[in-house]
């Protein structure tokens, strides 16, 4: 009963929220309802607490989605990267679809998919061209980005289930098959996922093949296996974790955004900054979201990148020297790392970290994805 009335309080608080808010100062002034903690209602039992937490997390996520969508999703279903000339990319469309499916927003889901299919599904191999520029009103790079393809396929499968739309699933299966056919490759280091159809293979790069471990969207793999059973997604999943364990460098033992597999041993890719940065920050997010025990195990390498509101960082880090570069400045980056700590160390997430919003597409999307993971399978972190 107590939990229920609290839920009501939350709901009112969320619904009372007016237009989208970006400024940090406004988040501070925000009415702060009491967050129900697992220990709060011990008389109801752990199961009850989990249920209550999960319910609140779901409602919180849905309310936040409305704000996020109002900010970054155009009326015709395009997700706008406001930090990069308002372009859209397959990754963003994939995230948008995923969040809409999880938020049970069939209308927006449909619009986003419509837009995506109409503007990005222009390749004969059924992969998505990754970049669309509003200045040109057209695709400006026909190459694909594998994480975008995976995200869209995964999200379509989820949408198919949530909205009972077999047509979504059919599209998902087509894309998943295309990924398998074009991007999953055998290498000296096992099964790998090429970051794109062009430009990363052994013959394209001196130290190639080059991979991006943040393109292994680990929690999507079991769905991809259902969609395209002809391909060995399990082996790909496992090899991703293995590459993650061997592809860590420097005094801080961090994975780079781009990993070259062509040499004697894996190394940070030559043609890219040897950084743990805006790409790799998603690795702990996907590991936390994934239910595989090994994924949770791999999280331990990330838990100390940021240790809470009173700590330094997180930073983009030069993996070779371990040196801090610019600050990864955004609530979403912090929430990802807080989530990693929660999953790996059972350490609770600071309320302020959960509630802070970002004005920019990318960190705010990471924040939404973290909330999505929490409401879907990690309510204890809420």
């Amino acid at each position: 009963m107590i939990a229920r009335s609290r839920l009501a309080g939350w709901f009112v608080a969320i619904c009372l929220q007016a237009s989208p808010i970006h400024a940090g100062t406004e988040t501070q002034a925000w009415v702060t309802p009491q967050r129900p903690l697992a220990s709060d209602a011990s008389s109801n039992g752990d199961q009850g607490d989990r249920e209550a937490n999960a319910q609140v997390a779901r409602m919180w996520f849905k309310a936040e989605w409305q704000i996020y969508a109002a900010t970054f999703v155009t009326a015709d279903g395009r997700i706008v990267d406001n930090a990069n000339g308002n372009v859209s990319h397959s990754e963003g469309q994939g995230y948008g679809l995923l969040l809409a499916a999880l938020a049970d927003d069939s209308e927006r889901f449909e619009k986003i998919w419509r837009w995506t299919e109409d503007h990005m599904m222009v390749r004969p191999d059924h992969l998505l061209s990754w970049r669309w520029d509003p200045q040109k009103g057209a695709i400006t790079d026909p190459n694909n980005a594998t994480d975008g393809d995976i995200l869209v396929a995964w999200a379509l499968a989820k949408g198919a289930q949530t909205f009972n739309r077999p047509d979504y699933r059919a599209s998902a299966a087509v894309i998943a098959g295309a990924i398998g056919a074009t991007l999953i490759k055998n290498s000296d280091r096992g099964l790998i996922l090429l970051p794109a159809a062009q430009g990363f293979a052994h013959e394209d790069q001196a130290d190639g093949p080059v991979v991006n471990l943040s393109y292994w969207v680990f929690p999507a793999f079991s769905t991809l296996k259902d969609l395209a059973p002809a391909y060995d997604w399990e082996a790909l999943h496992a090899n991703g974790l293995k590459l993650l364990s061997v592809g860590r460098f420097g005094p801080l033992r961090l994975p780079p955004d781009w990993l070259a597999l062509g040499g004697q041993t894996p190394a940070p890719a030559e043609k890219f900054p040897s950084q743990f940065g805006y790409n790799a920050i998603r690795i702990p997010l996907y590991l936390a979201w994934d239910s595989a025990p090994l994924a949770r195990h791999a999280l331990s390498g990330f838990v100390n990148l940021w240790r809470g509101p009173r700590s330094a960082g997180p930073y983009v880090i030069d993996v070779n020297s371990g040196s801090a570069e610019q600050v990864l400045d955004g609530a979403g980056y912090r929430l990802v790392l807080a989530l990693a700590r929660c999953v790996s160390l059972d350490s609770p997430i600071d309320e302020q970290v959960i509630k802070s919003r970002d004005p920019l597409y990318y960190p705010d999307t990471l924040r939404m994805l973290s909330l999505a993971a929490i409401q879907e399978r990690l309510p204890q972190c809420f």
Partner: protein, 634 residues
């Protein structure tokens, strides 16, 4: 330049803070990580082991010059080791540190790495790279934590002191992962913890030789991080007649370790273990000066003096306190107005029968307010000094402070009661006394008070108090008192019952009964006994009733002793014969008038003439008893 300067300042400030923090994080300063130089080769061995065991520990010589250097300061303190010296702390003493000079200070970096705080490590690397272009950080920053995934459960077991579990865990991991090695951090700490366990067990079993062997083989046990191991080793050394090395162990703690409570406990332990007072003094002198100007170990020094004085006061054998020590404690007792010490000094003086000093200390202690023990001490002291009236007055005044004070008051007053030489107690004192006896259910007090009443010829009152005394605790004096009063009151039935009850318990009762001719002859017919009871002194003179004799007996029975005596004298002066029964009255009158000698002569005369033998012997027995000191009347 303008901008850079404050930046640099900030960085240095941050570094200084870091240095302080890392010092604090290391819980003890650098010398504490070196083992105690108890065993000959400890110094070199320990220094090597230190590097191995604590690679991430902050070494003091890595600190920038401007940073505080508590470790180095502690090492140059005036009480420098006299024993084999551990590896020098200064850079020039260590060949390896030569190359470190001028190099980059990694203190903060290692500290953050030790904390596992990647963000701060990264920020510190950035700072160092900006400051030293081209510099590359060491790749072993997390060498120890590289194993963390495997070792975490092992460390958890370690934290639970389950060392067998850790060993089993290592084997289990190695079974699955051939070639895997636990970190040296884990194996070193494990070996040390196991050795510590063994040392503690040997020490508990008082196997001193084993303790020393284990300690000698694991010198890294003997650091400030584990003073308990040093204490145990020192104890073992002392028990094996190696006091010099035991002393060295204590000295190490006092010169190297900083935790206040451990330092204090060290001197306390040493005081129990070291036999030589000089050795102990040497340790006490290692106390640091406290902000209030006293020495850190002053309390211990005083405790030792207190121990000696307390033992002496209690009559226990042991080392005697020197006059200087007594003076020191006396000064402290006065200056700090320490009541406990004032009393202790009082009791010590009392035990030495130095009543002047004792009175002064107890009185001083009582100036801070009433205190049962100080009051007891003062009363006893006054009594011991022969100031009976003062003792009585204060005994009454302090009786309410506690049961012991009440007991003492009863004792002091009842002693005075039956001592003809003592000051007579006032009626108020007597009321206070009787109430106190009742309150304390003092069997002793009751029988003494009863004798007082008996001697004042309040025989019935005496009987009541003898009864109370015997009820509270059976005792010979009360038994005799009951028998005597029953006899006086001619309650022959009671008399016979009492004699029967007590004759086998107290030999004196049998003797008394024999002296009084037994109850048989007088107790026989109940009616007669009762008649006698109604008229206890019935005298026959000549052929009929001697009216005058009867009058004297009646006067005497009314408690008018002086008048009865006057009548006896008048009768004698008239030349009237004194029948033996009346002589008995004379005897009692003299007795009750305090002329025990006179009474004794009268009773003895009757006895000699074989007249009124019963009464005469009873009278003599009574006087004999009354003449006994209180303590012997039991």
């Amino acid at each position: 330049m303008f901008l850079k300067r404050p930046l640099l300042l900030t960085a240095m400030l941050a570094l200084a803070v870091t240095a302080i923090r890392s010092q604090a994080a290391n819980s003890d300063e650098a010398p504490s990580q070196r083992p105690a130089p108890i065993f000959a080769d400890a110094a070199a061995d320990g220094a090597a082991a230190q590097v191995k065991a604590a690679p991430s520990a902050v070494s003091p010589f890595d600190l920038p010059a401007s940073a505080p250097r508590p470790a180095v300061q502690a090492n140059t303190a005036p009480w420098e080791f006299s024993a084999p010296k551990p590896a020098p702390d200064t850079p020039d003493g260590d060949p390896a540190s030569k190359s470190r000079e001028g190099e980059i200070d990694l203190t903060a970096l290692r500290y953050f790495a030790g904390q596992g705080d990647l963000a701060r490590v990264a920020a510190e690397i950035k700072r160092l790279r900006e400051k030293h272009p081209g510099w590359e950080p060491p790749q072993d920053l997390f060498a120890q934590s590289g194993n963390s995934e495997f070792e975490k459960p092992l460390w958890d077991l370690f934290a639970q002191h389950d060392y067998d579990g850790v060993r089993a865990g290592i084997e289990a991991i190695q079974d699955k992962n051939p070639g895997w090695q636990p970190s040296s951090d884990l194996t070193d700490k494990l070996a040390l913890a196991e050795a510590n366990d063994k040392l503690v067990k040997a020490s508990e079993a008082q196997q001193w030789g084993d303790v020393i062997d284990i300690a000698a083989a694991n010198k890294m046990l003997l650091t400030c991080a584990d003073v308990d191991a040093i204490w145990r080793t020192a104890e073992a050394l002392a028990h094996t007649d190696d006091e010099p090395r035991a002393l060295e162990a204590y000295r190490y703690i006092l010169t190297s370790c900083t935790k206040r409570d451990e330092r204090l406990a060290t001197v306390q332990k040493a005081s129990q273990i070291l036999k030589s007072p000089e050795d102990l003094d040497a340790l006490l002198r290692l106390g640091r000066r406290l902000p209030n100007g006293t020495s850190e170990f002053e309390s211990v020094r005083f405790d030792l003096i207190r121990q000696k004085l307390g033992d002496a006061a209690a009559g226990k054998a042991g080392p005697e306190a020197s006059q200087a020590e007594i003076d020191a404690l006396a000064a402290h007792a006065r200056n700090a107005n320490d009541r406990g010490d004032q009393q202790l000094l009082g009791w010590f003086a009392y035990s030495r029968q130095d009543f002047v000093q004792a009175e002064s200390w107890f009185a001083m202690a009582l100036r801070s307010g009433p205190d049962p023990k100080a009051a007891e001490g003062l009363v006893l002291t006054l009594r011991g000094a022969g100031k009976i009236a003062d003792a009585q007055r204060l005994a009454v005044q302090y009786a309410g402070l506690g049961p012991l004070n009440r007991k003492l008051m009863i004792e002091v007053l009842t002693t005075a009661l039956n001592d003809p030489a003592a000051t007579q107690l006032s009626p108020d004192d007597l009321v206070t006394l009787s109430q106190a006896i009742d309150l304390a259910k003092s069997s002793e007090g009751a029988q003494l008070y009863a004798w007082h009443l008996y001697n004042a010829n309040d025989v019935a009152g005496a009987a009541d108090w003898f009864r109370k005394s015997a009820d509270w605790q059976q005792n010979e004096a009360a038994a005799i008192g009951l028998i005597v009063t029953a006899r006086r009151l001619h309650n022959m039935r009671d008399y016979a019952d009492l004699v029967a009850k007590y004759r086998d318990v107290y030999p004196k009762v049998a003797a008394l009964d024999a002296a009084m001719g037994g109850a048989r002859s007088i107790a026989a017919p109940r009616a007669a006994a009762q008649a006698q009871a109604n008229s206890p002194v019935r005298l026959r003179g000549g052929g009929g009733w001697d009216k005058n004799a009867d009058a004297i007996a009646t006067t005497m029975q009314a408690g008018k002793v002086d008048q009865a005596l006057a009548m006896l004298e008048e009768r004698r002066s008239k030349g009237l014969a004194e029948p033996p029964g009346l002589t008995v009255v004379r005897g009692w009158a003299l007795y009750q008038n305090g002329d025990w000698e006179g009474a004794k002569k009268v009773f003895a005369g009757l006895q000699a003439k074989q007249e009124q033998v019963e009464d005469a012997e009873f009278g003599l027995a009574t006087i004999e008893h009354a003449e006994l000191p209180a303590a012997m009347r039991r």
